[in-house]
Amino acid sequence: MTFDFSPVLTYLPTLIQGIGITLLIGVIVALFSVAGGLLVAVISIYTNKVISWPLRAFIWLFMTTPLLLQLYFLYFGLGELILIPAIVVGILGLGFHYMAYNADIFIATIRSVSDGQYEASRSLGFGHGATLFNIILPQALIRAVPQLGNNLILMVKDTSVLSAIGVAELVYASQYAISVSFRPFEFFIVIALIYYAINILMELGQAWLERQTAFRR
């Protein structure tokens, strides 16, 4: 049992490029899934059954099936219709998956605020839209912070699954280096540590954000 980490150093630029793409995907999916999740939640709460029912079905379907299965479906399903790069499929797949989870959280937090305050706000003369944007949503967003943070941390770890459909993020980027150096153990240890470092930073960020928003609840 001998370890040789020198190939990892040789291929460091490749790994760094992979980290860059992983972080890029993470940021895009974070924005996409939080904004989309909020939109889906608001629409599914404040519209009629014809619109809200399919949205609830969408949330339910994405939460009860594995991410990888959804990615394969999108990859082969969309691939049949149009020529589309793997990274776009990956961002859409991961984005829709976490959009469903985030929408589920927003539905719960919007309801928790809305229960008492919707009528109070309306009876004070605010309109439906003003009540939603000035009273309900700001509070619902702040209440959602802890769980959204958890979801985003899980999401960044799940970007590794995108390598299965050929997205050139960290895991996929190191595959060539692994196949020529025959040092899978060393490479995957380093990759795991990189994810661990990202994870710790995100947990610190989450703790900071929770402290910042705690007094506003």
């Binding site: 099936t65 594995p66 049949e80 590794s160 895991v171 040092r183 990759i191 795991a192 661990y196």
Partner: protein, 213 residues
Amino acid sequence: MVEVTPLLVKAAWVTIDISVRAIVFGFLVASALVFFRSVKFTPVRWFSRAYVSVVRGTPYFVQLLLIFYGGPTIGLDLDPFTCGVVVGAFNIGAYMSEAIRGAIESVDKGQSEASRSLGLGRLATMVNVVLPQAAGLMIRSIGVLAIVLIKNSSLVSIISVVELTYQAQRLIGSTYKPLEIFAVSALMYIVIIYAVMGIVELAYRRTTRFNAL
């Protein structure tokens, strides 16, 4: 559609098989980790904490690739199915140890103090007083983790275990009917997950039926 369903049903059994084994072994791993947290010798406690932190802080997918492709370097040459079970167990074990600890800590401290002052030993207090009251919460959180594990078990398709997602991907490739294959395999995951939810709910009711509220 009719001709692919038996293949997917067979693959779904592999998903169930691998998940059940991982959950059972994962419970043993979790129990050991919880026990390590209470050992007097400090390095053992640190090991337990560090293990949980690292496993929860790294992707399951990377853990799987590390043990499957990197395992032979440290003398761990596992076949894909065994590798899936082992990595699944050691992964869910970390999460489960936190769930078990949380459930034990949720039991009021006065319960164990009262039990100790009535003359019961530490082990008897844990087994007869604390655990029965923690069991309900424990079962529900383990149920949630089991569902996550079942969905994560799709990742062992990457190391060529012929389970549900592997078979679905292969059939999508050979039949060019992504929607139908996705619908059938998604339905199977949904059936498995709802079965787990049902079992968890039954077990929850059974363990909490004498709980005072």
